[in-house]
């Protein structure tokens, strides 16, 4: 504190804002220094004049002021909203692209369709049953040439029963 020149403390001394130690220091100095006493009085006078002559700002219509402020606030909020919309604008496009990619992938030949919930036991049983039918008439099927006798395969159940010989 002793580094501070006393005249820097004079305005706070006038306003009574110094700590006890600072006030003691200033008052000790003032008791010895006539120039600083004059300076203090002039500062006190100037501060009083500043307070007394504080200019009045030009009048303002407070209703218009608040309406303008409200408008600026709404503009600011909508700008912030537009910025957010601009930032998230790619999101729907990305979701759409993802859906298209999933559909294309699911439609590719050789790719089994997704089976949610695992294999369907009913479908498996049907396939097995149809194969058993073919196995029952294995003696006929073994003698068929591929691609030529699809009609026969389709009518296996109408063929006469094989001889037991």
């Amino acid at each position: 504190m002793n580094d501070v020149h006393v005249d820097e403390l004079l305005s706070d001394h006038v306003r009574g804002e110094l700590t006890d130690a600072e006030r003691t220091r200033v008052e000790t100095h003032l008791a010895e220094c006539a120039a600083c006493r004059v300076s203090r009085e002039r500062i006190a006078h100037l501060m009083a004049e500043l307070a007394r002559h504080a200019p009045v700002p030009p009048p303002i219509h407070w209703g218009a002021y608040r309406a303008e402020l409200r408008e600026r606030l709404e503009r600011q909020s909508s700008r912030a909203g537009a910025l957010w919309a601009w930032m998230v604008r790619p999101a729907p496009a990305l979701v759409a692209a993802g859906l298209v990619a999933a559909l294309v992938y699911a439609g590719l030949p050789g790719v089994p369709p997704p089976t949610p919930g695992g294999p369907d036991p009913l479908a498996d049983s049907t396939i097995m049953a149809s194969r058993l039918d073919l196995l029952a008439r294995l003696d006929v099927v073994q003698h068929l040439d591929m691609l030529e006798d699809f009609n026969v395969i389709g009518e296996l159940d109408q063929l006469p029963e094989p001889s037991k010989s």
């Binding site: 305005s11 002559h53 030009p58 402020l69 600011q76």
Partner: protein
């Protein structure tokens, strides 16, 4: 019971309806007056004070309650005014206009070289006249000195509060005030 400024600020942060309007109602005149004391232009003062309210609306959630709401808000306000002053000075520099205020305490100012006035009654009127234009001279101080003088002599803030508003140490505020008052005294022919 009437909500405190600090509570209203929290309500603004939570976007409670009406809280912002209440705070604006409490502070609009002070905000405009302080802004005008610093920028000394009606439209700029209106813009700066509104800017401060907009920043308050945006940043209400960051008010930690460690200082008084008024100190926190004055800080926003004074920053808006000083930013405005910097922008204006920037434009003036750009077009080659030199602001004498930018040159600090002008030692070659003829007003500063004037002798101290006599104290006879006739000259007392002159003194009164000079004092009545003291705020015009405040306008010639640097923006931070002007802000410090405005907050101290017009708004009655303590040095500690001014330091918080201007984000400076108390010692620096004292230096600003001391230099500002010395300059004013010189220009008023009081020294």
């Amino acid at each position: 019971m009437e909500s405190s400024d600090e509570q209203l600020c929290k309500d603004v942060a939570e976007r409670k309806p009406g809280a912002f309007d209440l705070l604006v109602g409490r502070y609009q005149e002070r905000a405009y007056r302080i802004a005008w004391s610093i920028v000394r232009d009606r439209e700029e003062a209106k813009d700066c004070s509104q800017d401060a309210f907009l920043r308050l609306h945006e940043a209400a959630g960051s008010f930690a309650g460690q200082s008084k709401f008024s100190t926190w808000f004055y800080r926003i306000l004074v920053n808006c005014c000083l930013d405005q002053q910097r922008r204006r000075r920037g434009w003036r520099r750009l077009v080659g206009w030199r602001d004498r205020r930018d040159e600090g305490e002008d030692a070659t100012d003829p007003v500063e070289q004037a002798p101290a006035p006599l104290t006879d009654p006739v000259e007392q009127l002159d003194t009164e006249r000079r004092m009545s234009r003291v705020w015009d001279l405040v306008q010639e101080l640097s923006p931070q000195q002007r802000a410090a003088v405005t907050l101290q002599c017009r708004e009655g803030l303590a040095t500690k509060e001014i330091a918080a508003v201007l984000n400076l140490s108390e010692a620096t505020v004292r230096v600003h005030l001391h230099r500002a008052l010395s300059t004013l005294r010189k220009r008023l022919g009081d020294e």
